[in-house]
Symmetry: C2
């Protein structure tokens, strides 16, 4: 690349839980190693605040998100981490975003799905479900995930994308719990015709089953083109044993609700989490 | 009471998780001590079956529920316990219930809220949220709860009722998680004008907050006359500390969504759990 090439400035905010500063520094080092001066990670100081469960109170997190996204010198918005809290900021932040934010890329997953859903509903077209800097907590494996996210943000590289994506259907990806918790709210997008990829982490099998009941019983979800199941990791031991696997659960509820079950999706709370652009 | 008085036969089924037989026996002893021959607890053998997480597979639980409720010699239906699984049986069981089941009392709470919701939606008028035989796991305290449930089933005694009930509004009570998970499904009743009492057990504060986001963002819930917060017990330690209490969370989301917050409700997963008749 020529030295005159414009630096891609990626703005980072934490709409839920606080980001440890050391992880942010490691993400900066990783970006420098991969792209040199071509990429700059701009962590908003809000990422490092602490207010009870959250990275600053609601007003602070909303202001940081709006300020970062609306900054014309920021090319893309990357959620630093999930945790919990995006549902407390999304409805108030989204209407404050200027038109220029629609042309920017937005990347995140897990709890930040509340925001991605609301942005998709609002007509934003450059959204994706994929790795966040907090994935560096997974060490070397996490680095591969974070590089993948960066790669999509900077180059839009096909190698970062989930392998089952086809141009035949628009796609969406969510954490199963987050999708359940946004159905019926002002953040719920129109799901008709979309392939829906769902992953989860840290949920008991009986809860995965209950979320599938909830999600597949929804009229909007029933209009989707089909469901692909991502990985369900760190599932606590069910007592008694649930017997059914997560894929058996997904198949059961898809069949019962008339939704095509399309197989597995290569997404999850892990280092192999691939990027799923929305739409 | 005269010896010619008809025996009240209460049919018990377990639409979710298995009931330990020893608890059933203790419930029978309790009923005998309180009412002698005036009351008979008829536990369907299905209560004691085991199929993975459930008290028998879905078809078995559906059949037991329908058989018990439709039996003309059964005067009332008491869910033996919750656990998880009522959402797997409700939609198929309810259409199989004969008209005579509408005049019978139905009592339960927790996971059985899926069934109570679906029955209320279907026009059943003798439903109540209140103690179940499984509460005997709480020892002497549990006995008080179970006696209260029995008292409502047999005598409809006012002493069993939640203290804030007034004839001004119809009432409904649910486990917060269960209400969240039935919104948007065919089990969701019309909530307009109802006072909604919500309790929960074993949920992290961040999840209670998220459920309140989900529930209070719902257009149907926003038509309710107001929310009363029952007890939230066995809340695991949030890391970091959530700072907000469950009542602060309830007030926050009610205020944000324009739902009147009416104060506390005397319900919960405990021995003080009072009876809330639906409607």
């Amino acid at each position: 690349m020529g030295s005159s090439e414009k630096t891609v400035r990626i703005g980072l905010v934490a709409p839920g839980t606080r980001m440890p500063p050391e992880l942010a520094e490691r993400a900066r080092v990783l970006a420098r190693e991969a792209y040199g001066d071509r990429v700059e990670l701009v962590f908003h100081p809000q990422c490092f605040l602490s207010s009870g469960h959250f990275a600053g109170n609601d007003a602070t997190r909303i202001a940081a998100l709006v300020e970062t996204a609306n900054d014309p010198s920021i090319d893309a918005i990357w959620f630093a981490r999930g945790g919990y809290g995006a549902c407390r900021v999304a409805e108030q932040a989204i209407p404050q975003l200027v038109p220029g934010t629609r042309a920017k890329k937005w990347l995140g997953y897990s709890d930040t799905g509340f925001l991605l859903a609301g942005l998709y509903r609002a007509g934003f077209s450059q959204l994706a479900h994929g790795p966040m800097p907090v994935d560096l907590i997974h060490g070397k494996d996490g680095e591969a995930a974070v590089k993948r996210g960066l790669c999509w943000l900077v180059e839009g590289a096909a190698s970062a994308l989930e392998g089952s994506l086809t141009p035949d259907h628009p796609n969406l990806a969510f954490n199963l719990t987050i999708l359940s918790q946004l159905l019926g709210t002002p953040l719920e997008p129109d799901l008709a015709g979309h392939v829906l990829m769902l992953e989860d982490v840290g949920e008991y099998m009986y809860r995965i089953d209950r979320y599938f009941f909830h999600v597949t019983s929804n009229e909007n979800v029933r209009q989707c083109a089909g469901i692909r199941l991502g990985r369900c990791s760190a599932v606590p031991k069910n007592d008694p044993d649930f017997v059914l696997t997560e894929e058996e659960v997904a198949r059961f509820w898809c069949e019962r609700s008339g939704i095509p079950y399309l197989g597995r999706a290569d997404i999850g709370h892990d280092s192999n989490n691939k990027v799923v652009p929305f739409g």
